[in-house]
């Protein structure tokens, strides 16, 4: 069983799906949509197989390693550990839902190319999450931009192509800066013997401090632009505003995770000393992101823009969790990545439904929707509360873990991070109030409630939020070994005393 290249299959299915969809005869949108959804569903199969055969705490599994470009030391190497697995599962679940949610909406553009690009994006994202070779990672990391770009610029609202260009420039800029570091890794590994890009080989290297720091900066900038983090976040709001909600889901809930995923995998995994060195700065940036994102979100009038900016705040928390360098923080951050994916996806999709119904994205022009569309209002409230970290919903668990770790790192860090809960409550509840409550506006009197398809797309997400809110352990069990493994590189042992971490970071900061 394990000899079979499941991961390759996992990537190949959506990739082939994308090609097939793209090559379908033009003009037959319905067929394209069915084929696309079918392929997305088919992708679930290898993902489920992988998940089912995954042994907890067994390190990297389902590995496939082939020489690719020997002179560069690059390999076609795939594998999953806990971190990768949850990301893969998140991706394969979200994509069919997005497709389903965009079923009618995509008719406005060219449904064939929309579905093809979505599948392409899925394939590339899966490759990113399963790559265990830095070169391969980089290649697919950049390759995700192409489908993403076309999804943004091809579908959505007026001004999207500008937003798409902004998105691409940020990502490309970050990516190329990362290229600098990727090449640097090559040079380092070549100097140490023979060049190899396998993460396992690179992790074994002893890279000197200055070099590490340079490489770290390159990687971090790229991931920060991807995640996004203050001050590289400005593309986020524009993009989510202009793109379709479906696209936003893929971008924010899947693609942006690559950023935080990469920070864990590469910054912490390969460049531990530099990560410690950079921790103070990163933590401060993360805190700024948290507060700034929340405040800006409060002031937004555009629903999609608002949701996009809340993500900035959430990503701040995730990064904070990663860089406080503790077991709790790491696990919390990874779990947060999953939860954020689910809750934000739900928010985006519901917001999309709202916009389709009201014909506007402006909060000021909505109101009283809970009377005409109670189900819509209900699911929006649940998803919103999840995003705000209401106890009993899964983001709460992760948020608490992160906050604990933050307090463990420094009291002020924890204190600032905690404000996020208050601010989140403000922006979510205020938005709910403005859109759902109050008198029904004249022009919105005819709004109908969610139909079954729409409910079906949101329901799994809400169920997951609730279930994981009460039983987070299955996911945490998957995550913890991987996080511990990564943190052990940084010198953090499972559940270390907070003082030690403090000392270690101070040491790093002094250097």
């Amino acid at each position: 069983m394990s000899d079979f290249p499941w991961l390759t299959l996992l990537i190949l299915v959506p990739l082939v799906g994308a090609l097939v969809t793209a090559l379908l005869p033009a003009g037959n949108g319905a067929l394209a949509k069915k084929v696309g959804l079918g392929m997305a569903a088919a992708t679930l199969l290898p993902a489920v197989v992988v998940a089912a055969n995954y042994s907890l705490g067994g390190g990297t599994q389902f590995t496939e390693t082939h020489d690719w470009i020997s002179l560069f030391g690059a390999h076609y190497a795939l594998g999953v550990d806990g971190l990768s697995l949850v990301m893969v599962l998140l991706t394969v679940v979200l994509v069919p839902l997005v497709m389903l949610a965009s079923w009618d909406e995509s008719d406005e553009g060219n449904p064939k190319s929309f579905f093809a690009w979505v599948l392409g994006l899925e394939a590339m994202s899966l490759a990113v999450f399963t790559a265990t070779d830095v070169f391969l990672f980089y290649v697919v990391f950049e390759a995700t931009l192409i489908p993403a770009y076309f999804l943004i610029s091809g579908f959505g609202r007026e001004g999207r192509s500008r937003a798409a260009a902004k998105f691409l420039l940020y990502q490309l800029g970050g990516g190329l800066v990362m290229l600098f570091s990727v090449i640097g890794l090559y040079v380092v590994s070549a100097d140490a013997g023979s060049p190899s890009y396998l993460i396992s080989d690179l992790a074994a290297l002893d890279i000197d401090e200055t070099t590490q720091r340079w490489l770290f900066v390159g990687f971090f900038i790229a991931f920060a632009a991807k995640a996004p983090m203050f001050p590289l976040h400005t593309w986020l709001a524009d993009t989510t505003e202009k793109a379709t909600p479906g696209t936003s889901v893929l971008l924010v809930c899947v693609l942006d995770k690559i950023g935080t995923y990469g920070m864990l995998r590469f910054c912490l995994g390969l460049l531990p000393e530099a990560s410690q060195w950079a921790t103070p700065v990163v933590v401060i940036l993360a805190l700024v992101s948290i507060v700034y994102g929340a405040f800006v979100a409060i002031g937004q009038d555009d629903v999609l823009r608002l949701i996009g900016l809340t993500s900035l705040s959430h990503f701040g928390l995730i990064v904070l969790g990663i860089f406080v360098l503790s077991g709790d923080g790491g696990s919390g951050a990874v779990f947060y990545m999953v939860n954020h994916g689910i809750s934000t996806a739900a928010l985006f999709l519901i917001a999309g439904y709202m916009i389709r119904r009201t014909g506007t994205a402006s909060i000021a022009r909505m109101g009283g929707l809970e009377k005409t569309a109670p189900v819509l209002a209900g699911v929006f409230l649940v998803a919103g509360m999840a995003a705000a970290g209401l106890p009993g919903l899964s983001p709460f668990v992760s948020e608490v873990l992160v906050l604990i770790a933050a307090f463990g790192y420094a009291w002020w860090a924890g204190a600032i991070a905690v404000t996020s809960i208050v601010l989140a409550a403000i922006y979510i509840l205020w938005t709910y109030q403005r859109t759902m409550t109050g008198p029904v506006k004249q022009e919105l009197a005819g709004v109908v409630d969610l139909d079954r398809r729409e409910v079906a797309t949101v329901a799994p997400l809400l169920v997951a939020l609730v279930v994981l809110g009460f039983f987070p352990m299955p996911v945490l069990d998957v995550i913890n070994p991987a996080v511990d493994d990564i943190l052990s590189h940084v010198g953090v042992v499972e559940d270390p005393p907070a003082v030690d971490t403090q000392a270690a970071t101070d040491e790093g900061a002094d250097q």
Binding site: I69, L71, G173, A190, D191
Partner: protein
């Protein structure tokens, strides 16, 4: 007076050169004695055939070399080959690789030259170059459907120069090869069938600046000869190693040589000619010239600077740094405002020259390289391959987009091309992505290669800048893609003419190569690695 010794010539190793030369001469005879009606056919067959034979001979020679030694010797970058024709020409691994590359590009270029369907049955070259534009003579030549079939022998002569240029092991041969390469190109640049004034201007500009640059090269060569007392690279290297005085002379000499060579590759600040020439020249020529000239010239740069001046690295590396940075910045920044596709590509080629130079300045001595690590020669050769193929392909696509006045190179007229002809627009977009260095295209692997050698040699500022410029460049290419796909055409849309098999083949080959080299570059990299080092 020394006793005269008959020089020996290694005919076998030089056979690709000789075949091309013979075919070029034969082409002249064909021009003189074959009736006009049959000339085109004969010339096309002769040109393609001779280039293919030469290519086959390159392979044969390469096999012969590897047959003598074990493969292991070639794998680790050791030099092999012969110093031919009494020390004036070197046939070694890199030479053979560049020969092969130039010949492939020449084959594709010749295919573009042979294209006749786009202009309704005549070639893209002027019917009668001597007829003044707008004159009665020109009208007659148009009505009679005359063609200049001389372009084929001229092409072959240029190819001959390009083969000789990177193989030159002697300053004199270097100079002569440069001229053999350049002179036919000057003429060809002025032979466009449409927009003849532009074309003639391009030829004049190219010629005057080209001659100016070669004068610099020559004076540099003279000074270097004055410094070393010999024209041969080996002896120059010897002198550079051993002489302690005359630093100033050497510095000036190297500087002037560099000016000449940088001009040929179109590196800033010696790039002024390239946008005008690229734009004015007939597009098939632009395609061939942009690709092959750069390959040959960089081959020569590599050999001159690595072999002859390798021990004087400290004095020329800073210059390379500056020129590489300038080329990247100027090429990219000036490309931003361009409204003409050919000019845009021209500026991008300036930037590419900078990228390749980034590879060149990543030179390290053999001892500094880890086993299996990419060397600068390998990186540059690989980049040249990818660059040559994608540039040729891009220009070939340009030649397809037309309206009543011939080719439509105005960018604004390309709006909506993606709907008009998704295939052609797609191909062009792909080439642009490759130029931007997006992964899974050959451009990415090439960029990776040159950046990594530069970084390994400690040129991180250049690499950093190169990376930043790549972002800007990507934005520029993106604008074109957006234009083609997301913009409505204003006015009547350009028509994509159906090309004949010639152009179609050229585009298909370059497209496939760009993709394959992006996804599976290993075979080519192995080939580059087996080319090994220069013979010193």
């Amino acid at each position: 007076m020394n006793e005269f010794v008959n020089p020996t010539v290694e005919y076998f190793e030089l056979s690709p050169l000789l075949v091309v030369f013979a075919a070029a001469c034969l082409g002249v005879v064909v021009e003189a004695f074959v009736p006009r009606a049959r000339r085109h056919l004969v010339q096309v067959v002769l040109t393609l055939l001779s280039l293919a034979v030469a290519l086959a001979l390159v392979v044969v020679v390469a096999l012969e070399f590897s047959g003598g030694d074990s493969d292991a010797v070639h794998g680790d970058g050791a030099a092999y080959g012969v110093v031919a024709a009494v020390g004036s020409v070197v046939v070694d691994g890199p030479t053979l690789f560049i020969w092969g590359l130039v010949l492939v590009l020449a084959l594709l270029g010749a295919a573009l030259f042979a294209e006749r369907r786009l202009e309704a049955g005549v070639s893209a070259f002027s019917g009668q170059a001597s007829a003044a534009p707008g004159s009665e003579a020109e009208r007659v030549s148009g009505v009679e459907r005359w063609e200049h079939t001389e372009v084929f022998p001229l092409l072959l002569f240029a190819v001959l120069g390009m083969l000789l240029f990177p193989a030159a092991n002697d300053l004199l041969v270097l100079f002569v090869a440069l001229e053999i390469l350049s002179l036919p190109l000057y003429l060809l640049a002025g032979l466009a069938r449409r927009r003849r004034l532009l074309s003639q201007e391009a030829a004049l500009k190219y010629f005057l600046l080209g001659a100016f640059a070669s004068a610099f090269l020559l004076y540099g060569a003279a000074l270097l000869y004055g410094y070393a007392g010999s024209m041969e690279f080996g002896e120059i290297a010897e002198a550079v190693r051993n002489r302690t005085d005359g630093e100033g002379l050497l510095l000036v000499a190297v500087g002037m040589l560099a000016v000449g060579l940088f001009f040929k590759v179109g590196a800033a600040p010696f790039h002024a000619w390239s946008p005008d020439v690229y734009q004015g020249s007939p597009t098939p020529l632009t395609a061939f010239m942009a690709a092959a000239t750069k390959v040959a010239a960089f081959g020569a740069i590599l050999r001159l600077f690595y072999v002859a001046l390798g021990d004087d690295r400290t004095s020329w590396l800073p210059v390379m740094w500056v020129v590489a940075i300038l080329s990247m910045v100027i090429g990219t920044v000036l490309a931003v405002g361009q409204s003409d596709v050919k000019r845009l590509l021209a500026y991008s080629s300036v930037a590419h020259a900078g990228f390749i130079l980034t590879g060149v300045l990543g030179v390290q001595s053999q001892s500094e390289l880890a086993i299996g690590e990419l060397s600068s020669v390998e990186a540059v050769l690989f980049y040249l391959t990818t660059y040559g193929l994608m540039t040729l392909g891009a220009f070939a696509v340009v030649s397809l987009v037309r309206d009543a006045g011939g080719e439509t190179t105005q960018l604004s007229r390309w709006a909506g091309l993606g709907k008009e002809s998704p295939l052609v627009a797609g191909a062009f977009a792909f080439f642009l992505l490759a130029m931007a260095g997006i992964p899974l295209t050959s451009g990415f692997v090439g960029k990776w290669a040159v950046f990594s050698v530069a970084l390994a040699a400690g040129a991180w500022p250049v690499v950093l800048l190169a990376v930043l410029m790549s972002v800007v460049a990507a934005w520029i290419y993106l604008k074109v893609i957006v234009l083609m796909y997301f913009r409505q055409p204003d006015g009547d849309a350009p028509v994509v003419a159906a090309p004949s098999a010639f152009t179609a083949t050229a585009i298909a080959v370059t497209l496939v190569a760009t993709l394959v080299l992006g996804v599976l570059p290993d075979p080519l990299l192995d080939l580059v690695a087996s080319a090994g080092e220069f013979i010193r």
